[in-house]
């Protein structure tokens, strides 16, 4: 659903009351009532309740006490939680960077000219529609000690590069990142292809005639013209990266020794495995605020262009 977040934000800033010359009766106001009621309850009331419980010691059953900022103190004084927070940020920014680099490269290559472009576009988008959890299992096998990655390295004579990818803390975080990036390159590619379709061929040809090289044309024509796509692709990937959950649970379960825990996996563990709803809610609040703040920064940074 993140796909339309950009537009929704843009529209929030630009909606003016419509002024239409005349209207016949179009629908009845109460047709919207069930939808409004459901969204108010399922989105607003629950979010407000979550924010409320973040300041309590509720365990999900029975009574609870206000504990003020205690839950947040526990988060920011606990090295394990700090580590999860740092992991979340590292994964989100790495995800944003690499999906955009590879997505843009594939989009540029497949924009026009290549004979295989339609087939390749279709195949590269394929991972996007598959469940992240299924994708993660495939990669878990690839990273296994006797798995294809180490075998390929051996075949290339690079035995010394072989590792137990999922067992070494730093490498395990890298594997999670690779799986996330791999699955979303096709998504970003499609966003950039839509942007590149708006760059007029004449403009590039004129620039080429005037002696601009490929890189100059890319920097001075393509990049400025696909600015909206860049804004959308980076925001979407950042938000999706911050929410990372499925891949961690399937690949490493948060291990080894908490090295790949993220805020979302901690929310899950503390709320639904350990039953500390109050503490889980405070973690969810931190995650939500992170997402909200980054969304707003992104909106502010790109406000003129949308």
């Amino acid at each position: 659903m993140a796909i339309v977040q950009e537009q929704a934000a843009a529209e929030l800033g630009s909606r003016h009351g419509p002024s239409r010359p005349f209207t016949l009766g179009y629908g009845r106001w109460w047709w919207a009532l069930p939808a409004v009621a459901l969204v108010v309850f399922m989105v607003y009331v629950t979010t407000a309740a979550g924010a409320f419980y973040a300041f309590t010691d509720w365990t999900g059953i029975g009574s609870w006490n206000f504990v003020g900022l205690n839950n947040f103190k526990k988060i920011f004084q606990n090295p394990e939680m700090i580590r999860s927070l740092v992991n979340t940020l590292v994964l989100a920014f790495g995800f944003l960077l690499f999906t955009n680099i590879f997505g843009l490269l594939f989009a540029l290559a497949l924009n026009r000219g290549l004979k295989s472009r339609y087939v390749l576009r279709m195949l590269l988008f394929m991972p996007v529609v598959i469940a992240p959890i299924a994708v993660s299992y495939v990669w878990k096998f690839i990273f296994a000690y006797k798995g294809p990655l180490n075998q390929t390295l051996a075949a290339l004579g690079l035995e010394s590069w072989q590792r137990d990818w999922l067992a070494e803390p730093k490498l395990a975080l890298l594997t999670v990142l690779i799986v996330m990036v791999w699955q979303n390159i096709g998504f970003v590619m499609v966003i950039y292809l839509a942007g590149l379709a708006t760059v007029p061929v004449d403009l590039e040809e004129a620039a080429a005639l005037d002696g601009a090289g490929t890189f100059d044309r890319f920097r001075r024509i393509t990049i400025p013209m696909i600015q909206p796509s860049i804004a959308i692709a980076t925001t979407l990937m950042l938000i999706q990266g911050l929410r990372i959950f499925d891949q961690v649970l399937a690949l490493t379960g948060g291990g080894p020794a908490g090295a790949t825990e993220t805020l979302a996996t901690q929310v899950y563990k503390h709320s639904f495995v350990f039953g500390n709803f109050g503490f889980g809610a405070s973690l969810a609040l931190v995650l939500s605020l992170l997402i909200l703040v980054f969304t707003l920064i992104q909106q502010w940074a790109t406000r003129d262009r949308l």
Binding site: W29, I133, I232
Partner: protein
């Protein structure tokens, strides 16, 4: 300038190599799923089986195995929950969007903001109270509870996509039908809703994919119940198999087939649905 030159050929070759590397995981997925348990241990994980076998699929899906019933109930719950959510999103979202897109009153714009802001709000925070509430009402472990939750959280998306489409839709047909004496309900059901077909398709594809592939919400609300969706079934089943990759991958492939079949059938709509968020 865009003639097919030698440079283009080089680019084409490099792009194809890049794409093949990207698609390598599918090769490992398929080749391993066609091996026997012995071959998984004895042959290289890079090799394709010399005598591919469908035994793993047969083992999983034959009625005598313990796995088949959970796979089939997983498939059934996934389909029921996805279809139920799409129906909810269309039935509640389409008329609401119609009112917002066509109304000239000031309050309708204000109420529309409720949906716009809801799209921006992160969903994580609501899950904890939702779970507690659903547990109190006995709705955890029920597919109905999950359909209501998905419908509520995805309605802003549905209303947004519908109202964007409706604003570009000319009113001529509605006006003609009204002049001919059709009531408001009839105009919507017989004229507007059929014209909204493409928007309904986009809502179904985007929301359907989100619900079908969702793991977190389904895990929280349905784990351990009789109505676990496919991702949860897969998660539990894989947890019970220690490194039996041939069987694991057969499960993974079975879970992928419905969505991939759908994708190849309607890939243009899928890609447009994702890229379509750009046009407004």
């Amino acid at each position: 300038m865009f003639r097919y030159s030698k440079k283009t050929l080089v680019l084409e070759i490099f792009t194809i190599i890049g794409a093949l590397i990207m698609l390598a995981p599918f090769y490992f997925l398929i080749s391993t799923s066609l091996k026997t348990s012995d071959q998984v241990l004895t042959t290289s994980s890079l090799s394709f089986p010399t005598s591919p076998t469908f035994d793993n699929f047969v083992t999983l899906l034959s009625p005598s195995s313990g796995a088949s019933s959970s796979i089939f109930t997983g498939l059934a719950s996934s389909i029921a929950i996805t279809v139920g959510t799409i129906v909810g999103l269309v039935v509640l979202g389409a008329p609401a969007a119609y009112v917002f897109a066509r109304s000239t009153s000031r309050w309708s714009n204000k109420v529309f903001y409720i949906f716009l802001i809801a799209i921006l709000l992160p969903t994580q925070l609501g899950i904890v109270p939702l779970y507690a509430g659903a547990r109190t009402l006995g709705l955890t472990g029920s597919p109905w509870g999950l359909i209501v939750i998905y419908t509520g959280t995805l309605l802003p998306l549905s209303v947004f996509l519908y109202s964007g489409f409706l604003r570009r839709l000319p009113r001529d047909y509605e006006e003609a039908a009204t002049v001919d004496g059709a009531g408001r309900g009839a105009v919507f059901v017989r004229i507007v809703f059929p014209l909204m077909g493409p928007a309904t398709g986009t809502v179904a594809i985007l929301a359907g994919l989100i619900v079908w592939n969702d793991f977190f919400t389904a895990l929280v609300f349905l784990n351990g119940s009789d109505y676990q969706t496919l991702p949860v079934v897969m998660y539990n089943y894989v947890g019970s198999l220690v490194s039996q990759w041939n069987l694991i991958f057969a499960v993974v492939i079975i879970s992928m087939i419905p969505i991939l079949a759908f994708y190849f059938f309607a890939q243009k709509r899928f890609i447009q649905g994702y890229a379509g968020g750009l046009k407004g």
